[in-house]
Symmetry: C2
Subunit: 209 residues, 2 copies
């Protein structure tokens, strides 16, 4: 979409991009919203997890991290799903070509922006994906914690639908351990409660032990 009627050339590209990313509102995740009435979409998830980052910052082991960078990462990190789709966290097959699909998506979508912005957004997105900086680790931890909270408060519907067991969730939540002792304790507690309530399966091996 080229919006040639927009007099400012940079604004023309930016508006085209901002219209295009509206499609994220139609990308459905595997988690349900809290009232269980429907699946959550990725745009509203991005809003929710950004607010988790703001509210829970004090629990980060390094609370001096750059919150603005964290939020920008969280707002944009899933935009690639417009082309690449949402890859379920426990879909090992889907993860085989996830990187390739998402790289192409990032090039097309962020490529709609003026060059300098495209560069900045690619950098932010790669920083999130690489997970090396404090900011990207904290962002990733919350991105993984949010669906666990959703699962707990929706009777584990997404876990049960997909036959997920505790060790899979713990492995997925590993970034939380690195960024916050308090949130890691919370993660372990919420999973134990989920098992006690029968909404998450324990591992077969752990049961035998």
């Amino acid at each position: 979409m080229q919006e040639s009627w927009i007099r400012n050339e940079r604004l023309s590209s930016q508006v085209a991009f901002l219209v295009e990313i509206d499609k994220l509102k139609s990308v459905l995740r595997k988690t349900f919203i809290m009232d269980r009435s429907r699946l959550e979409n990725t745009a509203e998830h991005s809003w929710h997890v950004s607010l988790l980052a703001v509210v829970l910052l004090e629990h980060a082991n390094d609370p001096s991290l750059d919150l603005n960078r964290v939020i920008c990462m969280l707002l944009l990190h899933d935009i690639v799903e417009i082309d690449a789709g949402d890859t379920f966290a426990y879909d090992t097959e889907g993860y085989l070509d996830k990187e390739e699909r998402e790289n192409a998506a990032a090039r097309r979508l962020f490529g709609m922006l003026p060059d300098d912005q495209q560069g900045e957004w690619m950098e932010l997105w790669r920083e999130f994906e690489d997970g090396v900086t404090h900011e990207s680790k904290y962002a990733a931890a919350l991105d993984r914690l949010q669906p666990v909270i959703h699962n707990y408060y929706t009777g584990g519907v997404s876990w049960r639908n997909n036959g997920i067991v505790r060790s899979q969730v713990l492995k997925r939540l590993a970034p939380v351990k690195e960024v916050s002792e308090t949130l890691w304790q919370f993660t372990n507690d919420i999973l134990q409660r989920s098992i006690d309530q029968g909404i998450l399966l324990d591992d077969p091996i752990a049961k035998e032990g």
Copy 2:
């Protein structure tokens, strides 16, 4: 909801709040998402407008404004709609008690947070509502511009459904004029194009003039 099983008292309040605000995903606005398949909800709107703030910052007359503060305001400013509902921008009757309804909502919802955070969030929310600072003016301008872009790209469906005319939109969009010459030019151009395409009504008086 008191989550007494969460060992950290502050985290317990914060999680209860973060679960409660999930309800914003079920508050429907009058605008449609771009593919016209359904109404937009306020959570995904908050995500979208936050990204407008990031992408369009260079067009602000004062691009040195505190972007982090702007984004935090945009992420939280509509949370009050969980209790107060979405008041349509052109609903003069609804606006009569909007302030009262939203004040009560802010007290209840932000009141779920620990005291210091409650204070910060109330302050941010009031800053947005008061619209005096550069940050709140820029945030408000985008919050008002976003549905105009939506209306334009969805054939003016919300304008037409509600019999809205140009002068109403221009009045509503006045904050844009104050924060950005480029975005104000864009606003006027997009409204003129909407009228030319027959998706927005011009004012009867303007027609006679």
